[in-house]
Amino acid sequence: MNRWRRGPAPAAATGPDPGPFVMEFRGVGFTYPGPPPVTALGACELTVRRGEFLTVVGPSGSGKSTFLNLAGLLDVPTRGRYLLDGIDTGGLRERERAALRGRRIGFVFQSFHLLPHRSALENVGLALLYTGVPPAERRDRARAALERVGLGHRLHAPPGQLSGGERQRVAVARALVGRPSLLLCDEPTGNLDSASAAAVLSLLDGLHRAGMTVVVITHDPEVAARGGRTVTIRDGRLYERARPA
């Protein structure tokens, strides 16, 4: 059941062994330049193992989105070191960061971020547009990903014709179609009713059981209470209570 795991790939293709950690924050901090400068994240230590399901929970303004932007290589830490799949991302140029983003990270956002005038199939295929996958293969893989999230019957529907829960499932399909090392979800249930939220969360659970490394960021303690490893964030600091055995 290691379908979604990157696993020990051929050495020639990926270089050094990625090791057991997908994410390593080594004293990572981030300060918005301002003025006035705002330190949204202090010096954080955090590691996420391959195949783990991590929930980061905290109130609004605690630094959750900042954490996600750093983990997703959308922002550069102002201090500390961040290793993704064992690769030190410090000092990488933008084109290398874009490549890592596109190939190793899948994003799920609270507001879905689907292109309004494109079909579900095209929206999912977009995640492969920049990675050199030919168009026909893009379509096939997008269809497979949509079938995987239970939307095989809605391939050609534009987002406007989908319910909130369906839209988020399209977004999940888009996040996993590139077979990333890490699925980063920022408030994935924030815009959904409880039934749709439960469906999306069980979908993420299923992906995790199939081997995917999933990080869910939420302000909702109920989401966090579903079990698994939970890290609390408050005023830009991470607190970890118990580690499940």
């Binding site: 933008e94 596109g102 507001s111 292109l115 920049y130």
Partner: protein, 413 residues
């Protein structure tokens, strides 16, 4: 290298740009309207200019290039001056090099009535004469034999009158084809005669066509001396001399004619040389071209501003899309390429549409006027490119802005 760099094929850039346009056709049409008008304007101006130039070239045949007219302007210089052409005008002008035929002619006024009735009947003719001067019988034109030759006549029947007829002031007439039909003269085998004023004139010939001064097809031509004897000299300024020259001699002949004819008072005569075709064409270009090309340029500028503005607004509006594309691996240059391709495509399609409308307009005007529409293929090839380049230039700044959208901030929305 941490991972293979992300990339985007030209096909994908165009695909994304096209998808961006066709999903919002209304907005695309409005955005491209300025380019449509600008390029359309250029095509219309260039097309009409070419069409008019071709028309002038067509009219400016060999025939007009070898034609000189000398006008009697004596009355303008001196109200009491007699007619300016001397009696031996034709002998004097034939001295000049390059002259083929030259002869004096004028329309006899008041026009004597012309009829084909037998002797003794009403001299006005059988046709009821209305107040409309066009309906009043054929004009009577006094023309020396040489003047008739200078018209390049083609005889339908019979022959022209000659110098002997002129010298002896014979009552002979050559009828234009139209005039003959009106008078009911269809054949010369019956030796017909027509009544002009009070006199009977034998019909010597019927003209099928004349290359110069086609109005004479509706006239009755009589020898100059005969006309002068019967109805007196031409009125002030009525006489003209028609000269046909050899190729290339017309301007020279025109320059020398007044002095050759009237060495004492050359200013009593004005020679009209053929127009310079290059100057005519330049005139058309200058009249129409400059103003309308300017207008078309303004349209194109407005079109570019329209594309630039809409694309810039779209960049701000589509910041989340840009953020998302960056999140799935797009680099700034991929984003820039997509927006640039969108505006270039919009400009190119606008140019194509504008060209089509311009061609329709030129063809419509030409057909309505009975002209042959002329459009150079270069204009047709360049028009969409002009639109494309307009779109590219207009999209440059918005594309630059799009490439610099911060993905993290854009995705926060």
């Amino acid at each position: 290298m941490a991972a293979a760099a992300t990339r985007m094929s030209v096909r994908d850039v165009l695909g994304e740009a096209l998808a961006g346009l066709v999903r919002r056709p209304g907005r695309a049409v409005l955005t491209g309207l300025g380019t449509v008008l600008g390029v359309g304007g250029f095509v219309v101006v260039l097309g009409l200019t070419a069409t008019l130039s071709a028309r002038i070239d067509g009219r400016f045949s060999m025939l007009t290039a070898t034609e000189v007219t000398v006008e009697d302007v004596a009355a303008q210089r001196d109200p009491y001056a007699p007619p300016a052409f001397p009696a031996d005008a034709e002998r004097r002008i034939r001295v000049l090099a390059g002259v083929e035929h030259a002869g004096v002619h004028w329309q006899v006024r008041p026009s004597p009535p012309v009829g084909s009735d037998p002797v003794g009947s009403d001299p006005v003719g059988s046709d009821p004469v209305g107040s409309d001067p066009a309906a009043a019988g054929p004009a009577v034109v006094a023309a020396s034999p040489e003047a008739v030759l200078a018209m390049v006549p083609r005889l339908q029947q019979g022959r022209l009158y000659d110098d002997f007829a002129e010298r002896t002031r014979q009552r002979v007439v050559v009828l234009g084809g139209g005039a003959a039909a009106r008078l009911g003269v269809t054949t010369l085998s019956t030796r017909p005669a027509v009544r002009i004023g009070g006199e009977m004139f034998a019909v010597a010939g019927i003209l099928g066509d004349v290359a110069r001064q086609p109005e004479n097809l509706l006239a009755a031509l009589v020898p100059r001396a005969t006309a002068a004897e019967l109805w007196g000299p031409p009125g002030a300024g009525a006489a003209r001399m028609l000269i046909s020259t050899e190729t290339g001699a017309a301007r020279q002949v025109a320059a020398l004619a007044p002095v050759a004819l009237r060495p004492d008072r050359p200013e009593f005569l004005r020679a009209v040389p053929p127009a310079d075709p290059r100057r005519l064409r330049a005139g058309v270009g200058a009249d129409l071209g400059v103003l309308f090309l300017l207008l078309a340029g303004v349209c194109l500028l407005v079109g570019a501003a329209g594309i630039a503005n809409t694309t810039l607004v779209a960049v701000l509006e589509r910041a989340p899309e840009i953020g998302l594309r960056r999140a799935v691996g797009a680099r700034g240059r991929h984003i820039a390429a997509q927006f640039l391709a969108e505006s270039a495509l919009l400009g190119g399609l606008g140019g194509l549409l504008g060209m089509s409308l311009g061609v329709l307009a030129v063809t419509g005007v030409a057909v309505a006027r009975g002209w042959t529409p002329v459009l150079s293929p270069a204009v047709l090839a360049v028009a969409p490119v002009v639109g494309l380049v307009t779109g590219l230039l207009a999209g440059a700044y918005p594309a630059h802005r799009a490439a610099r959208v911060e993905p993290a901030a854009a995705l926060r929305r």
